[in-house]
């Protein structure tokens, strides 16, 4: 029974670790940025501004990517 439990726990841990590495990994800023983008666009849509959302969504994505690349370049320069 305990062996079964430990196998299940290990599988669950492995599954959680896979998704953590897959979504967060060494770029937590991208994960946080996407959560932020969702919140902002949900707010804009909630207020009924579709055309604003059409413009703001890709702009926020570009901003997130730019900041992440900038962060990585700064880290690489320090090494």
């Amino acid at each position: 029974m305990s062996e079964e439990k430990s196998l299940a726990a290990r599988l669950l841990k492995g599954f959680a670790m896979f998704w953590w590495d897959f979504l967060v990994g060494d770029t937590p800023e991208l994960f946080i940025a996407v959560v932020g983008v969702l919140a902002v666009i949900a707010g804009i849509r909630g207020a009924g501004h579709n055309s604003v959302a059409v413009v703001v969504l890709p702009v926020l994505v570009i901003l997130a990517l730019t900041l992440s690349v900038r962060r990585s370049v700064a880290q690489a320069k320090k090494k």
Binding site: L23, V34, L38, P58, V61, L65, S72, V73, A76, K77
Partner: protein
């Protein structure tokens, strides 16, 4: 008009799935070739088959479940995952093209794997190490293929097309790999990864918007605009990063 908008979405879907699967297959093949050449093909082949069986079981378990999720919820979740995943790929590709990160070198990975396998000594009886190495290589790279096909396919309501495209990509890379019988180091992997990143971020943006009830002008046709926009942004970021890398090198020399 309808035919045009549908086909632009399909083209982006097929391109994203094909390139993503081809890149993952190249990485998996490198490991399998290293295992096969160093420790024999039997265990390598067994590892590959076992990994494919487990991946197929995962598809059978999760594929039908995804179809039952409401489309707007599915697109919001999938869009978010694709945005994160696509930006991770783009970030790495930009750093590699600018010189801040070493390029993915299949030759080096092949030699590293061969050295690791040789250091493990000769097998007694069944070659467990070769089996595990081939299994891990195919399973981990294959898992990314499965996620890409399932998420893109179900959200676009074109799972059959996504699966067929993936199969064509896998077979094509396998045939090319078998013919050249080496680790496919000539494949322009970074350029392919950059293209996949652009396509994933385009789909991610589009579906996050759809999931949040944003109406895109021109519907599916707007995807093409995103592809163009993100290509331009990626190209600009790569240029800026490259010039930063060059100035760093010049600074060090001076």
């Amino acid at each position: 008009m309808f035919a045009t908008t549908v086909s632009s979405g399909v083209v982006v879907l097929v391109g994203a799935v094909f390139l993503a699967c081809a890149v993952e297959m190249v990485e998996a093949l490198t490991i399998v070739f290293a295992v096969g050449h160093t420790r024999g093909w039997r265990s390598a082949f067994e590892g590959v088959v076992a990994a494919i069986v487990v991946l197929a079981a995962l598809v059978a378990a999760f594929g039908p479940a995804l179809v039952h999720i409401p489309l707007s919820t599915l697109r919001l979740i999938v869009g978010s995952v694709l945005l994160i995943f696509g930006m991770q790929w783009l970030r790495k590709a930009i750093l590699r093209s600018s010189g801040f990160k070493a390029k993915h070198d299949e030759d080096a990975i092949y030699l590293e794997t061969v050295a690791e396998l040789k250091a493990a000594g000769q097998p007694v009886g069944r070659d467990r190490i070769a089996f595990v190495m081939a299994f891990k290589g195919v399973f981990l790279e294959g898992l990314e293929v499965v996620i890409t096909v399932l998420t893109l396919g179900t959200s676009a309501h074109r799972l059959g097309l996504a699966a067929t495209t993936a199969a064509v990509a896998l077979v094509l890379v396998a045939i090319v790999g078998a013919i050249v019988a080496k680790q496919l180091s000539a494949v322009p992997e970074n350029a392919m990864k950059m293209s996949v990143g652009i396509l994933l971020v385009s789909y991610g943006t589009f579906w996050v918007g759809e999931g949040l009830k944003v109406s895109w002008p021109g519907n599916d046709g707007f995807l093409v605009f995103f592809v163009g926009l993100y290509t331009l942004v990626t190209w600009s970021l790569a240029l800026v990063a490259k010039s930063a890398h060059n100035s760093t090198k010049t600074g060090v020399k001076a």
